[in-house]
């Protein structure tokens, strides 16, 4: 048996021993060409960040694919142990930089659970509003980038036009366009500015027509459907056993959504559906995200109505200068745009967390790549890997 050890790349990693063994060509396949080891990334344009794939290819076919991560590791779990609880929120902006609001919410919810405090109702509705807007913005980036992977340049600009407006709303909220640090322990940083909801109401129909445009341009484009359907199939049992979450598992036909299964904030008080698709392929993952944006918009509409009825008022609990939760631990999970984002915090009663563990959805979703990718074409590799919606900032943390 010939082992794939002649690559020389990453061969001193312990997990190298678990690398899939490549079989010698059978006698009938004597005409097949030599296998080639290709290094895809970390500077490859379609690995979305600094993911490196070590590919073994046989002509156009991928024989083995092995993700090599850690190029964006910044040690957030350790950094969080050296800061007081308030200071961990701004770290969370940088995990998944396309969904900072969701990260903020996850971290705040976990700390609030430890402190056992009740957040003002208005703050919770505002959190829902920004979380859903963030989900739309993040999915727009996904669809834009996926279009680029598939060679369609134009949908990118249409998606980013819509995202730019959402980012504009976030800028009005907190002054930042990427790392918001808006949701804080005990509420949100500030109430909505004047005229925010009115502007948002004007924006909702525009976004709706933007979605239609994107559907027409990209999602239902015959070439895209031809290209992405039937590849990268993740059967439901595999999706569950690899612990996938978010649109990845819903595209495999399993209606698992943290917002529905373990509701937090007021997700049980609004009317929306969990989107699933039975096809389990790359196109299903794209379609699920495109439909989820519409559901998010549905939630946004309802939240805006609730917020309009509510008088402007308290949006943050007054906490002392330093937060000292009781000794103990807690796990809080939310549905981030990429899946189940879980935070596990251990408190030893001091002003700083004893241990913070982040369950990043992208990291878990990436784990299925070595299982799905062997046996596909190089061209499909991008179509499959792209549909995972990886954000390397959160994979490496």
């Amino acid at each position: 048996m010939k082992r794939n050890s002649d690559s020389g790349i990453g061969s001193n990693y312990p997990w190298h021993k678990q690398r899939p063994v490549i079989e010698e060509p059978r006698p009938g396949e004597a005409l097949r060409a030599d296998r080639l080891i290709v290094n895809m990334g970390p500077q490859h344009p379609s690995t979305h960040g600094v993911l490196r794939m070590i590919l073994t290819v046989d002509g156009e076919w991928v024989v083995a694919a092995e993700p090599d991560i850690g190029y964006l590791h910044r040690g957030f779990e350790k950094l969080a142990e050296m800061r007081d609880y308030d200071g961990t929120i701004f770290l969370s902006d940088r995990w998944d930089y396309l969904a900072s609001m969701s990260n903020n919410i996850a971290m705040s919810l976990a700390i609030e659970r430890l402190l056992d405090i009740q957040v003002p109702e208005r703050a919770q509705w505002i959190r829902m509003l920004v979380a859903e807007l963030q989900r739309i913005a993040s999915h727009l980036v996904f669809i834009a980038a996926y279009g680029l992977d598939m060679g369609a340049m134009t949908p990118f600009f249409y998606c980013f036009r819509e995202r730019e407006r959402i980012v504009g709303f976030f800028e009005a909220l907190c002054g930042a366009r990427l790392t918001y640090h808006y949701v804080r322990v005990g509420g949100v940083a500030a109430d909505l500015p004047d005229g925010f909801l009115e502007e948002l109401e004007k924006f909702i129909p525009m976004l709706q027509s933007g979605f239609d445009e994107i559907d027409e341009l990209l999602i239902y484009n015959p070439i895209l459907i031809e290209r992405t359907s039937g590849i990268g199939i993740i059967p439901p049992h595999l999706a569950v056993s690899y612990g996938l979450s978010g649109p990845m598992i819903r595209a495999s036909g399993i209606p698992y959504d943290v917002r529905k299964c373990h509701p937090y904030l007021f997700y049980d008080a609004v009317d929306w559906d969990v989107i699933t698709h039975e096809a389990c392929d790359s196109w299903a993952r794209v379609w699920v995200r495109s439909q989820e944006m519409r559901q998010s918009l549905r939630i946004v509409k309802q939240v805006v109505e609730r917020l309009k009825e509510m008088p402007a008022g308290e949006v943050r609990v007054k906490l002392g200068r330093s937060i000292r939760p009781q000794k103990g631990d807690c796990y809080v999970a939310i549905e981030s745009p990429r899946g189940e984002l879980g935070i596990y915090i251990v408190s030893d009663g001091s002003g700083k967390p004893y241990r913070v563990k982040i369950r990043g959805p992208s990291f878990v979703n990436l784990s299925i790549a070595p299982r799905v990718l062997p046996g596909v074409k190089i061209a499909d590799l991008v179509a499959i890997l792209g549909s995972f919606d990886l954000v390397m900032g959160e994979v490496d943390r």
């Binding site: 060679g151 134009t154 061209a379």
Partner: protein, 350 residues
């Protein structure tokens, strides 16, 4: 001493036959024409794509950014010329020229306006010459991919070879349809057969029951594939192969690839105009189409086709390599073959 006398003196002094000098002058003119066309097409493409993609395109260099492509060309020429250590040096240097030459030579037989003024040379095998010359491009592309010493470039070159060779077959079949209809291989004759009435142009001629129009569509699809445009731009699929066969090239050598690509785009559209859209003739008899008018009409038709190609390029995603091959051999090839068969029957029976 008049200018003519001066020229005669100079000719006598060099001792070379006049034909050589005429040839050289024509070559320089064609090269300048080609460069201008490419710069114009690239600029129009960037503006047009910008319009489609909610951006503005080039704006700052020159009025409305018209000099942007000139600047880019100058920048490319001034860049450091890098030859990778792994590269096969001789072939690496030769490859851009092998790609560039056919693109350049194809201009010789195209009637850009009323011949003989706007056609460098009318060959009686004109269209055959074009098909033969442009298929040399494949050799250059495979050579470039191979000589780069990069795995991605090699894969890109191989893909490109397979694609270009496959699409040449239905393309040639589609080209044979107007050749059969007009009974000549000369570009000039084919255009003259169609004349200045739009309903006699090959693409719209009803007496062939729309079969020539099918050939026109097949030709344009193959033209997309031959010039590596989206949806058939697999050889340079950015997301998969980074940039395909030309990934290791920089500076002037890259400029040659770029020049050849956009020049080929123009050439295939110019051939389509000559073969199917009546060449330099105006669509209706009372419209002027002599002298410089003919050049104008030709450019108008060709640039319309170029625009359609660029429109498709900015709209669609990319197909996969096996789908590409399947499309060529299972769909286009039989359709083109049947189309050609019926047209030849009609021509034979008339």
């Amino acid at each position: 001493m008049s200018l003519t006398q001066l020229c005669e003196r100079l000719l006598n002094w060099t001792g070379l036959p006049v034909e050589v000098w005429v040839g050289l002058v024509v070559a320089v003119i064609i090269f300048l024409f080609m460069t201008v066309i490419v710069l114009a097409v690239v600029y129009l493409f960037r503006k047009f794509a910008g319009f489609i993609q909610l951006r503005l395109g080039p704006r700052y260099v020159g009025p409305r950014g018209v000099l942007q492509t000139v600047c880019d060309a100058v920048k490319l020429l001034a860049k450091e010329d890098i030859i990778p250590a792994e590269a096969d040096k001789g072939i690496f240097i030769a490859a851009p020229l092998i790609v560039f030459l056919p693109a350049y030579l194809a201009y010789i037989v195209i009637p850009f306006g009323q011949p003989p003024h706007f056609q460098p040379k009318d060959l009686n095998l004109g269209i055959l010459y074009v098909l033969a010359i442009t298929s040399i491009t494949v050799v250059g592309i495979i050579t470039a991919g191979w000589a780069s010493g990069s795995k991605w470039a090699t894969i890109g070159g191989m893909r490109s070879g397979a694609q270009l060779i496959s699409y040449e077959v239905p393309m040639s079949l589609a080209v044979l349809v107007p050749v059969l209809i007009s009974g000549s291989l000369s570009m000039k004759d084919i255009a003259e057969m169609q004349g200045d009435r739009i309903w006699y142009w090959n693409a719209f001629n009803i007496s062939y029951f729309g079969l020539a129009f099918i050939a026109f569509v097949i030709y344009m699809i193959c033209a997309l594939a031959e010039t590596n445009q989206i949806p058939f731009d697999l050889p340079e699929a950015e997301s998969e192969l980074v940039a395909g066969y030309n990934v290791e090239y920089s500076g002037m050598r890259f400029a040659f690839f770029f020049l050849a690509e956009f020049s080929n785009l123009f050439v295939v559209c110019a051939i389509a105009t000559t073969l199917f859209l009546g060449g330099w003739y105006a669509p209706l008899p009372f419209l002027p189409d002599d002298g410089f008018w003919s050049l104008l009409w030709f450019m108008l038709k060709t640039l319309t086709l170029v625009f359609i190609v660029l429109w498709i390029r900015s709209t669609y995603p990319r197909v996969r390599i096996d789908q590409l091959m399947e499309f060529a051999w299972k769909r286009l090839f039989p359709i083109a073959l049947i189309d050609l068969g019926i047209v030849s029957l009609i021509v034979a029976l008339r």
